[in-house]
Symmetry: C2
Subunit: 321 residues, 2 copies
């Protein structure tokens, strides 16, 4: 492990393979499920890679371990730091725990109590700040200065992106003949890693992203070739409200074949379909690729489609049904 170096450019095929060789020791090789009734309904063959069953309940665990593994022993001992109110906070906290090193998580004061408890449960140090992006970034800079910990961005980081590729590596290894691979797009960490895996290991597989119309920065950036921000983030898919940044956009431009946008109504329908037919719990963000298939039935008819279900951390007290 100590032979791995930090990645400063788009990971190569060999770097993705080396990443998997480490990450696999810390994460679940999550199962792939299918539903004959959903297949019948949509006239295609869908395969769902269940990262909702991953440690901490989301694929983010993979990126956390990958980033931690690529620090030098000296760097790692000083700890991992990040700002996050969501799954990345838990991923960094748990990754630090697995390596036996400290974690410093900057969280906005209005973050849900249950998220803070989860992070504390992994033994991480929580530093509260005002609930603005500016305060988060400023607080993080101070934490890093004081502790010497390494900041791990939740997606705009090639080490993290390499980690996120490992779900697709497992998926393609088991289902090499998929016609299409799909993920949702938030900040772009998952789709970047997945697109690289599809590029290196996926033969003729197509890579398609899916995004809510209400947070469609990736769609507009992809179509225009110029990185653009979100105009609204008024979507139930709370994991997808973050914007692309330079590293993820660079990979998406190069290795994603298309991006489809979906309505809020279709996200809730797709989420409910998965809950009811497959009996598994997924976050609204996960439902976005299936929503895209539902809205574009003809395009996907007869195809073998792999969808990465990104996570299952939902507040059961606030369901949209």
């Amino acid at each position: 492990m100590s032979s791995l170096q930090q990645l400063h450019t788009i990971p190569t095929k060999e770097e993705l393979e080396a990443t998997y060789a480490v990450v696999k020791n810390y994460v679940h090789n999550t199962p792939v499920l299918s539903s004959s009734s959903i297949n019948e309904l949509l006239d295609c063959q869908l395969f769902f890679k269940c990262e909702n069953f991953q440690k901490i309940g989301a694929f983010k665990m993979r990126g956390g371990i990958s980033a931690a593994s690529r620090l030098s022993e000296e760097e790692r001992q000083k700890g991992l730091a990040t700002h996050s109110s969501g799954n990345h906070a838990q991923a960094i906290a748990y990754s630090a725990k697995m390596y036996g090193v400290p974690a410093y998580i900057v969280m906005p004061s209005n973050a849900p109590k249950i998220k803070k408890q989860a992070v504390e449960g992994y033994g991480a140090n929580i530093i509260e700040c005002a609930p603005t992006m500016e305060a988060r970034e400023q607080t993080l800079i101070e934490v890093v200065k004081q502790t010497g910990a390494t900041f791990i961005h939740s997606y705009n980081n090639y080490n993290v992106i390499a980690g996120q590729s490992t779900s697709a590596q497992e998926f393609i290894d088991k289902y090499p003949d998929l016609d299409i691979m799909m993920t949702p797009i938030g900040g772009g960490g998952l789709i970047s890693g997945t697109a690289l895996a599809v590029h290196y290991f996926g033969n003729t597989m197509q890579m398609i992203g899916a995004e809510p119309i209400e947070a469609d920065d990736a769609y507009r950036s992809f179509k225009s070739g110029i990185l653009q921000g979100n105009e609204t983030t008024n979507t139930i898919a709370d994991g997808l409200r973050t914007p692309l940044r330079d590293k993820t956009f660079g990979i998406i431009r190069k290795h994603v074949d298309d991006i489809l946008r979906v309505t809020e109504e279709s996200i809730v329908q797709a989420m409910r379909l998965i809950w009811e037919r497959m009996k598994i719990i997924i976050e609204p963000s996960c439902a976005v690729p299936l929503a895209a298939v539902m809205l574009n039935k003809e395009r996907f008819a007869g195809k073998k489609i792999g969808i990465i279900l990104s996570g299952g951390n939902v507040d059961l007290g606030k369901l949209p049904f």
Copy 2:
């Protein structure tokens, strides 16, 4: 298949094996899942057999196929009949569809629309009746008289019980060294089949049932040795409101080691724990064995425990969270 005969006595080991040889061709060999965080919390090793992922979303599919397979070709062509407002209705409808024969399902007029639609979706004939057990039984007798179809009781039937044993057969085959096997108890079909499988294939494995205090006919019958009805059925575990009958009680007396009772509060807690930690959707009835483990931590400490999760058909609009 046509060589199988209807069972009129408690199935033998060979009869269970013969049942599995047929049933396995029509059902999923459902996965077994674990949760390290639940194991840590309860200080034991729990293995969950996921019949919520079974066809029609419940173990009842196994009993339906088993019963259908043990009819003569002539009997089968006349059809399968039952009365049910729940999973058994769907199981019989789907089993009939798989054999290409008619199904006649007597359903109370107040059965949820979604259940009727599911049964109709499998091509079954629905015969509505007044919402009383008397009306259901009377209507069924008429249907059988008119059609010549065979009545398949949802649990007090050795063919059905043999089918329900197949989940435990798969479970024990994969995890032969469990210390304890657990199921919930409603009418007793699942626990009867499971107890027989444990008896024939389970080495020194113990068989423990779990039941809501609010519908504890099995507990009182088991302790007293005399078949007793329910005094209340005021439990959220709607699948467990049905009472034992002679065939299931006979097997339970002989092959079950203990029955534990649980509170309503513990059922909701256990259900929520499985939803939140395992990200799978289970019916309240399924949570009853885990509730029993939670309420009896010392008794189960350090043990390897197999729990059959019986089904996942819940109304997402009416959750207890």
